[in-house]
């Protein structure tokens, strides 16, 4: 039971880390505003759901909007900083997260919005070993679908091939006549869209307020460190692992719940500094 709760929590982590990992693997940028995009996604999602009453509609509209926000961010803010070292895009997105938090405070108030569980997904369902909230099952299924979709996109489509090639060697891809700037733009937008999507998916399970992206950013960094920087498989596995560790500790040692995942990270760092699925030289 607690395992399922952990997997539901972990699937959000996995999604977030996957978005971070896509952007990092391709652009070498750690998006410090990732938590803020997650928060924006949750706000927009709940807002659209309240206005239209249609969950599926907001599930499509929200990632589109956060994705567009990502496109604008890459084009006008991150792009001028390429070639100026790794720290600058990180610092810039950090500043951006401040702005996004305040914009949401101005728009929706500091209290946040009440989260809504969509109709049809309320209540619990018998999963054989006990009753489990329907929405969390939906959450697990939806994330699995999204992760499969991203995997399919990268492994099986032409665009995915270009992305993979670009991550491996951007010079060669440029020489082959691919407009790499466009690919980077797309990848950044996709990463932000996934962050927004995880925001709306997570919104019924947590309170929607302007600060909600802050702890989740630290936690998704833990996931990225545990999984190994730039490894999509690592992001997914570590996301689930962190979710399960969190919910197991909160069952047996509730006081240590928040700490447990950071302890997990410290242990992984001591044993395998490059993360579970990271390559040895991939940290510099």
């Amino acid at each position: 039971m607690q395992l399922l709760t952990g997997i539901a929590l972990g699937s959000i982590y996995a999604l977030l880390a996957l978005g971070l990992c896509l952007i990092f693997g391709m652009l070498n940028v750690v998006n410090f505003a990732h938590g803020a995009f997650f928060m924006v996604g949750a706000f927009l999602g709940v807002y659209f759901l309240g206005v239209t009453g249609n969950f599926w509609f907001s599930l499509i509209l929200t990632p589109l909007l956060t994705g567009c926000l990502g496109l604008i961010t890459e084009r006008f803010l991150v792009r001028p900083l390429y070639g100026r070292g790794l720290d600058y895009p990180l610092l810039l997105t950090f500043g951006l997260s401040y702005v996004l938090i305040e914009v949401m405070r101005v728009t929706f108030g500091i209290e946040g919005l009440p989260s809504i569980t969509p109709d049809g997904l309320t209540g619990t369902v018998n999963v054989g070993i006990g009753f489990f909230p329907k929405y969390r099952l939906f959450l697990i299924a939806a994330t699995a679908l999204i992760i499969l979709g991203v995997w399919f996109f990268i492994q099986k489509t032409r665009y995915g091939l270009i992305i993979k090639a670009g991550a491996a060697d951007q010079e060669i891809v440029k020489v082959l006549g691919v407009d790499i700037a466009k690919v980077w733009l797309l990848v950044f937008g996709l990463g932000c869209a996934i962050a927004g999507l995880s925001g709306i998916l997570a919104s019924p399970t947590r309170s929607v307020n302007p600060e909600m992206g802050i702890p989740i950013l630290a936690e998704s960094f833990v996931v990225t460190v545990v999984g190994g920087m730039g490894s999509p498989v690592g992001a997914v596995v570590a996301g689930l692992l962190v979710g399960v560790v969190y919910s197991m500790t909160s069952l047996f040692f509730p006081d240590l719940a928040e700490l447990s995942i950071f302890i997990l990270m410290a242990v992984v760092l001591l044993i395998r500094p490059q993360g579970l699925f990271g390559k040895a030289g991939a940290m510099g």
């Binding site: 990092f24 720290d87 610092l91 305040e102 630290a218 700490l259 950071f262 990270m265 510099g284």
Partner: protein, 319 residues
């Protein structure tokens, strides 16, 4: 004019001290000046690691917080004198730096930032959970120091001006220490590591040991800033440990000019002064500071002080 600046650059500790001695008279009120003094020190300690060695830590709030809490706990729960309490705060922060540094220097680049941020969150939760000692969410209250006994002479610590100069005394010691570190061979190795880590290692320097040492020194200085803050505010808010507080150190360094001696101080002064002004007409000052910060990252990466210095073409070595 230029030779004046050269003179200031050569005697940076003296110049900083003189400037800070008259600083409260150009500020609207003393509490703001004290705040700038403390956060300036915090940013300078952080800059030692980031500006001079190129390690971008997002966990330095931990050291500010450890310094504050240990000093506060010493005074509130154990009735220690201010001297012992400050010492405990600084040593505690240094030990925290040793542990965090030991784990974090195993990684490099952006990874380092992520690990320090996550480790900083551990410290946050530890202090948050230890409610009986730290007051949890409400923060630690009642860190009262009314009088300072200096060589047996009681001095009224509640007088803001007196408070400013007592805190300045500690800050000047720290500034002198930072200047000595930067002028020592260690300072040169730090900059070598920033410029090219592999080459520094090939020259025979122990890169890992240097990184750890500087991490601990930086943590201790930030811990001192924290201790002083606890005495100043007479409470320790839990926010001291929050990673947005770490972000403030980062912002102040960038705004003022990372890798310059006095830049972080300038950054702290500008940012806190702005906060003070902006909050009088809107409570959304975070958006303003965020935008200004992004503007500097994009167009003035050298920061205010760094840009001034490079306009005056003052050489790197004598900053």
């Amino acid at each position: 004019m230029n030779s004046l600046f050269q003179l200031i650059a050569r005697h940076r500790v003296l110049a900083s001290t003189l400037f800070l001695a008259i600083f409260p008279f150009i500020m609207p009120y003393e509490a703001l000046a004290i705040n700038i003094l403390i956060f300036g020190l915090f940013a300078m300690g952080f800059n030692l690691l980031f500006g001079y060695m190129g390690l971008l830590s997002f966990g330095h709030a931990a050291f500010l917080g450890i310094g504050s809490y240990l000093t506060g706990i010493g005074i509130v729960h154990y009735g220690l004198g201010w001297g012992t309490a400050i010492l405990i705060g600084v040593i505690g922060a240094a030990i925290g730096g040793l542990i965090m540094g030991f784990l974090a220097i195993r990684t490099r680049g952006i990874y380092f930032s992520m690990v320090t941020l996550a480790l900083g969150q551990i410290i946050y939760y530890i202090f948050y959970k230890a409610e009986s000692l730290t007051g949890g969410e409400n923060g630690l209250r009642g860190v009262r120091v009314d009088t300072f006994n200096i060589f047996g002479v009681p001095v009224d610590f509640l007088n803001p001006m007196v408070k400013y100069y007592i805190i300045l005394f500690f800050v000047v010691i720290a500034i002198w220490l930072i200047s000595r570190i930067l002028n020592s061979p260690l300072g040169a190795v730090m900059e070598a590591i920033r410029e090219n880590e592999k080459r520094a290692a090939a020259c025979g320097f122990d890169v890992a040991k240097t990184k750890l040492l500087v991490f601990v020194l930086s943590a201790a200085i930030c811990g001192l800033a924290g201790s002083l803050r606890a005495l100043h505010l007479s409470i320790v808010p839990i926010d001291s440990l929050h990673y947005l507080q770490s972000g403030q150190a980062v912002m102040m360094s960038i705004l003022g000019g990372m890798g310059t001696f006095f830049g972080p101080f300038v950054g702290a002064a500008v940012m806190l002064y702005l906060e003070d002004v902006v909050t009088t007409f809107t409570k959304h000052w975070m958006a303003v500071i965020g935008l200004i910060f992004m503007f500097f990252v994009l167009f003035f990466p050298k920061g205010i002080w760094g840009t001034i210095l490079s306009k005056l073409q003052i050489h790197q070595d004598s900053k």
